[in-house]
Symmetry: C2
């Protein structure tokens, strides 16, 4: 059989075959082999952390990754920015009738590779099939499970003067998806920054002090994360346009397409709020690693009563970076 049929989702023989040939084959681990509807794990130390995300990205294959890699990286990174060590992940598939099984295999292989990089096991799963026209090839939910052993900073810890750090250039993932979707008439070399951040973050955490908050600026971009920080901690944030790292091509393409890179999704970036005094040291340590090579300070916490994100532009002006309103950029992740 070359394509997914409705019978692949009915609990019978074809589904069993799909599970054995595809999922067990690539996700191969002893817990999955329990073949239960639940995965029974070893006892864990520390506070458990759960994160869930559904992935509906269109197109499902894109430069730099695919929906499978994204589904693992996205959820693992959400755990990592909570200072959790990712341990296990579950995968729920919603397949559209007619989806080629070879494409499913490609996606599942990507998931297996990404999970291996993050040192997590895909321990349980579920497959549903919907009729043609009731889905779009493949949707994946991943739910990640990790643990936190260290002490977490208290929420009131963020204060005026704290620095805002990012580990590298922004906008690549969102721009990749949008240019792929628009079928641009020219070739670009831009590719998604989609990657596993947990090892990098763990190494930085082990070598530094003063990291108060982390968040990965995915859907809605860094503009959205910075606004969330303002809401959450009742602070304002100043950023400097000229400090924000971009790839040259991202900048020119954004200009051409009328896109604001501050709102474009990233899938391999992390925003950190850190103690002012320790900020230089943290950047230095981040730069030591591949995924932090271009780490830099892009702004700082102030205490504006309005709780706004304010960007000092290159020509010396000021621009308020608002939350995204009514902009239709879905299926980016």
């Amino acid at each position: 059989m070359e394509n997914i049929t409705l019978a692949h989702g009915n609990g019978g023989r074809l589904m069993e075959q799909l599970i054995n040939d595809v999922f067990l084959n690539y996700f191969d681990n002893e817990i999955l082999y329990q073949k239960n509807d639940s995965a029974i794990l070893s006892e864990i130390e520390g506070e458990p952390v759960i994160s869930t995300d559904s992935f509906v990205v269109n197109p499902i294959f894109f430069p730099g990754g695919d929906i499978g890699k994204l589904a693992i990286c996205g959820t693992i990174n959400d755990l990592a920015v909570s200072k959790a060590t990712p341990l296990y992940i579950s995968a729920g598939f919603i397949l559209e009738e007619g989806f080629p099984i070879k494409h499913l295999k490609r996606v599942v292989r990507s998931m297996a590779n990404a999970a291996q990089k993050a040192n997590v096991k895909i321990v349980t799963g579920d497959t549903k099939v919907v009729e043609k026209g009731k889905g779009d090839k493949i949707y994946i939910n991943t739910t990640g499970f990790g643990s936190i052993k260290e002490e977490i900073n208290k929420d009131d810890d963020i204060k005026k003067g704290d620095k805002v750090i990012i580990n590298g250039t922004i906008g690549e993932h969102g721009l990749t998806i949008l240019t792929e979707r628009k079928e641009m008439s020219f070739k670009t070399s831009i590719k998604s920054d989609c990657c596993i951040l947990s090892n990098f973050i763990r190494k930085v955490l082990n070598r530094t002090e003063g990291i108060k908050f982390m968040r990965d600026p995915t859907r809605g971009g860094i503009a959205t994360v910075l606004n969330e920080i303002c809401d959450r901690y009742d602070v304002g944030i100043n950023i400097n346009e000229e400090d924000i790292p971009f790839q040259k091509e991202v900048k020119s393409l954004c200009k051409m397409m009328g896109l604001d890179p501050l709102y474009l999704a990233n899938e391999g970036k992390v925003i950190l709020i850190v103690d002012e005094e320790k900020s230089e040291k943290i950047v230095e340590i981040m730069q030591f690693f591949e995924k932090g090579k271009q780490a830099c300070i892009i702004g700082s916490i102030n205490q504006s009563e309005e709780g706004q994100v304010c960007m000092k532009t290159k020509i010396g002006g000021k621009r308020i970076i608002n939350k995204l309103i009514g902009n239709n950029l879905p299926r980016i992740c």
Copy 2:
């Protein structure tokens, strides 16, 4: 705004409003209020257990329940049959553009009610929006997280003579969905048996010994679960047709529609494999509770070399109950 728009999935203001008005409002708990991309939980005792399921049932509202109730019950019951105590659950929504927000509220309220009955907290979530025609109203993934404190029976514990028990009548959920979908010209009183089984199962476990294996016969019905048991433990199973409990109306409707109730999904049933000597006592204790009132022994383990499920029919014949092959009954759950 009355309907879901693409902008409800872009990470901006509309999405924030949806999260506050709908999800935080109904799922109300302190962990969810952390408003992180991850939920940080209290340390747990025992072995952690994870179970995941995506729900794509069509129609989303049906007699006896809706996709929201189903999404909580299905995942909680998967944990419960592993002897786990369900603790937390995550919810991932894939909404179709144009889906009425009042329907979303109804679904989310059902989820909240079911979670409350199971004494679990919905601690983290995610919302994606897909274009009209790329989904079907609403798909929900739930991933449940629980713990097992007691000792689990070893796999080789199942042997010839062990009894097969079910807690009540079969086929209602599957038949409800199919009759709803076929828009039958007459009224039936059949409704889905969809319910939370965790409290019932816990009470039975606390009062009995000798329960070796449990599984909820959802997609694929009891025929599928019994075949899975044969594969897993390398045994055969005999069941007696006249011992299998049915509602009268289910029986006659199945006859009329040419359906085999053994393959119809159940969402409030559990199959148990128990020690022969303790089986009568276990049935008695199950019958003590509302959800076990009609509990009965329907068969036993044998050691047929073929590892088949064999049913003794009412007229004294024998019928092999095979795995489901190529039958298109998707979107039942």
